[in-house]
C-alpha cells in the first residue's frame, strides 16, 4: 500500500480515457499527457491501459508501506527521496518504509507515476480515469487527500520480472542502469510551437484573424485546467458573426468564443460544443500542450492532415519499439 502523507495540488488517477459513452454526454477524461502516461506504464511492465497517478505542478508526499517499482514520466516535478532526486523515465525500485516527495515543478506541468502491477482502482464504463466535475471514476471520483491509501495490484508477467530484477535489500532505491532514448522525450521549455491542422470553421474567420492565429504568441492563462486551456493574446474574430449548431468536439479542438480568446479543449472537455473551431492540435503535440503551464507561451504552425496522421503513426511505431526494447532488457 502507498499512503498519501500530504496531498498535492491535484492528484488524480487517469488512464487512456473513457471511450464509447460520449454519445451519452460522458466526458472521456484520461491522462492529459497520454504519451508520458503510456511510457510510465511500459517502463514498469504494465499494460498501457493501467491507471497512473497524474500530478499537477505540486505532487504529494507518498509513503511506501511495501516494496514497489515505479516510473516517473512527463513534466519534471522534482521527485526526491530524503532530498536526493529520483530519476525519471526509467523503472525505479522503492524499498518499503520510504517517503517519496514530489514537487514543485521545475519544468513542465504534469508528472505521471506508474507502479508495477497497477493501482487497484475499479473500472467504471471501461476506464479508471477520474472526471472530477461529475465525481466519476478514479479514486472515489476525486483528487487524492492527505490520509488516503492507494492499493497496488499483484504483479504478473513483465511487471514481476522488472520488480525482481531491481529488488534490493536496505538500498532505499535502485533504478535501472538504462533509460529510454532521448529523441522520444519531450523538450520542456516555456514556449512551445504546436503543430495544428485547420479547424472545421477555419474559413469562417477573418483573414486578419487567421493570420494572427498562425503568426502570434498566445499565453496560457491561469484559468486553464484539465477541461481546457484558455489563451490570451491577439483576439480572433469571425468574418461575420454567426451562431453555429452544436456538434462533437475532440481533444485538441481550438475553439473561439465571442470574446475572441481561443480555448484549447483538453482531456476533460465536454463532448459537444457550439463555438467555431479555428484549429485542431495535431494528436502528437497534445502531450506538449499538456506540459505547458500558466504563463507559458504557445504558437501554432499549420501542417496538413496527412502529415499529422503520418506523425501519429510514426510515434505509435516508436512506442511499439520502446515496448519491445523494454521487454528485451528484462527477459
Amino acid at each position: 500500500m502507498i499512503k498519501v502523507r500530504k496531498a498535492g495540488l491535484s492528484d488524480t488517477i487517469q488512464d487512456l480515457g473513457r471511450f464509447g459513452y460520449q454519445k451519452f454526454g460522458v466526458v472521456t477524461s484520461g491522462a492529459m499527457d497520454a504519451f508520458a502516461h503510456r511510457v510510465a506504464n511500459l517502463l514498469v511492465g504494465n499494460e498501457e491501459t493501467e491507471g497512473t497517478l497524474e500530478m499537477t505542478l505540486v505532487g504529494p508526499r507518498l509513503y511506501f508501506e511495501e516494496h514497489a517499482v515505479i516510473a516517473l514520466c512527463g513534466g519534471d516535478l522534482s521527485a526526491s527521496i530524503n532530498g536526493k532526486p529520483v530519476p525519471m523515465w526509467k523503472p525505479v525500485f522503492i524499498e518499503k518504509g520510504t517517503e517519496l516527495k514530489i514537487g514543485p515543478a521545475v519544468a513542465g506541468c504534469r508528472m505521471y507515476l506508474a507502479v508495477a502491477g497497477g493501482f487497484e482502482i475499479p473500472l467504471l464504463m471501461g476506464s479508471r480515469s477520474t472526471y472530477l466535475k461529475a465525481e466519476l471514476g478514479g479514486y472515489e471520483g476525486r483528487v487524492l487527500k492527505t490520509g488516503d491509501t492507494l492499493k497496488v495490484k499483484g504483479r504478473n508477467g513483465q511487471a514481476e520480472q522488472i520488480f525482481s530484477r531491481l529488488e534490493c535489500a536496505a538500498c532505499g532505491i535502485q533504478s535501472a542502469d538504462w533509460t529510454i532514448t532521448k529523441n522520444v522525450l519531450p523538450v520542456l521549455s516555456d514556449h512551445y510551437e504546436i503543430r495544428v491542422i485547420k479547424g472545421r470553421q477555419y474559413d469562417l474567420f477573418s483573414k486578419e484573424s487567421r493570420h494572427r492565429f498562425q503568426t502570434s504568441q498566445f499565453a496560457v492563462s491561469s484559468q486553464s485546467d484539465r477541461m481546457g486551456y484558455r489563451l490570451t493574446g491577439p483576439t480572433l474574430q469571425l468574418e461575420t458573426e454567426q451562431e453555429l449548431i452544436s456538434e462533437a468536439v475532440s481533444f485538441g479542438s481550438i475553439q473561439v468564443p465571442a470574446d475572441g480568446d481561443p480555448i484549447i479543449l483538453m482531456a476533460d472537455r465536454q463532448t459537444t460544443g457550439g463555438y467555431p473551431k479555428i484549429g485542431q492540435v495535431a494528436s502528437v503535440d497534445l502531450s506538449t500542450v499538456a506540459q505547458a503551464r500558466p504563463g507559458n507561451y504557445l504558437s501554432f504552425r499549420e501542417i496538413s492532415l496527412e502529415k499529422a496522421q503520418e506523425l501519429y503513426v510514426r510515434r505509435e511505431r516508436n512506442l511499439q519499439e520502446l515496448k519491445t526494447g523494454i521487454a528485451l532488457k528484462f527477459r
Binding site: 454519445k23 467504471l124 485542431q280 494528436s283 492532415l305 501519429y312
Partner: protein
C-alpha cells in the same frame, strides 16, 4: 441520402447530413447512428450524434495508406444503403416533475415575465411535445427542442453557483434538465425524481438522441415516494 465528410482533427470524421436543425435532419442522424452501431466496424472508436451531424472517432492504426482517405472510403461504403426514417423508431419517455416550490424558485419569474399565472406555466410546460436532439454538455444532459415560446424566459444575469441534480430549467426558448449538480444561469421551475445520469448502467443515460419526452406534474408526496427516501 446526401451528406458530406470532413475531418475533425486527425482522429475523427464528421458526417454532416444537413445544414439546419429539423426533424428530417434528425431522422438522418438517427439512421446513420443506428447503422454505425449495428455494424460497429473495428476501426471505429465511437460515434457521437448531434443536431445535423454524426462524428466518428476512428483508429488510425486500423488503416494502411492515408488513414483519412481510407476511413472516408469505408464510410461511403457503409452509408450506401442507409435509409433515413426507417430506423427511427422513437421512444416516448415520461418525466414526472415537482413544479415550483423549493426546487422551482424561478417559476414565479417565468410566469410574470410572460404575463401568466404559475399554474399556466406548469400547464403549458407539461402539455408540450418535446424531442431530444442530442445528449451533450454534461453526462446525460439532453438538448431538448419543442418548448412553447409562451413560457420562454431569459437566462439569469448572474448564474447560480450550484444547481442541484435533476432540476428542470428554462433558458430562452429551451427547456432542459440538469443530470448532475452544476453551476448555471437557467431559470429553475421544478425537479424530477428520476435520475438522468446512471453511471452504473448501460446505457448510462436515461435519455438518448431521438427520444420524445412528456413532462407531467406530480405532488410533493408522489415525488417523495418516487425517491423512496433518497435525498
Amino acid at each position: 441520402m446526401d451528406y458530406t465528410l470532413s475531418p475533425l482533427g486527425d482522429q475523427a470524421v464528421v458526417i454532416e447530413v444537413d445544414r439546419d436543425i429539423s426533424m428530417k435532419a434528425q431522422d438522418k442522424v438517427l439512421a446513420v447512428t443506428a447503422l454505425l452501431e449495428e455494424r460497429s466496424p473495428d476501426w471505429m472508436v465511437e460515434s457521437v450524434p448531434s443536431y445535423t451531424s454524426v462524428t466518428v472517432f476512428y483508429r488510425l492504426e486500423a488503416f494502411e495508406g492515408v488513414p483519412y482517405e481510407e476511413v472516408c472510403k469505408r464510410i461511403h461504403q457503409l452509408l450506401a444503403g442507409v435509409q433515413p426514417g426507417r430506423s427511427a423508431s422513437r421512444r416516448t419517455v415520461r418525466i414526472p416533475v415537482l413544479y415550483g416550490g423549493e426546487w422551482g424558485p424561478d417559476l414565479p419569474f417565468v410566469a410574470e415575465h410572460n404575463g401568466l399565472m404559475p399554474e399556466e406555466v406548469i400547464s403549458i410546460h407539461s402539455s408540450g411535445e418535446y424531442l431530444v436532439h442530442m445528449i451533450g454538455f454534461a453526462p446525460g444532459f439532453p438538448f431538448i427542442g419543442g418548448m412553447s415560446e409562451k413560457i420562454a424566459a431569459p437566462r439569469r444575469k448572474t448564474p447560480r453557483l450550484r444547481i442541484p441534480a435533476r432540476t428542470i430549467g428554462i433558458a430562452g426558448k429551451q427547456t432542459g434538465v440538469y443530470p448532475i449538480e452544476t453551476p448555471g444561469g437557467w431559470q429553475l421551475i421544478g425537479r424530477t425524481p428520476l435520475e438522468l445520469f446512471l453511471p452504473e448502467q448501460n446505457p448510462p443515460s436515461l435519455l438518448v438522441a431521438g427520444d420524445r419526452i412528456e413532462f407531467y406534474p406530480i405532488s410533493q408526496k408522489e415525488y417523495d415516494e418516487m425517491r423512496g427516501g433518497r435525498p
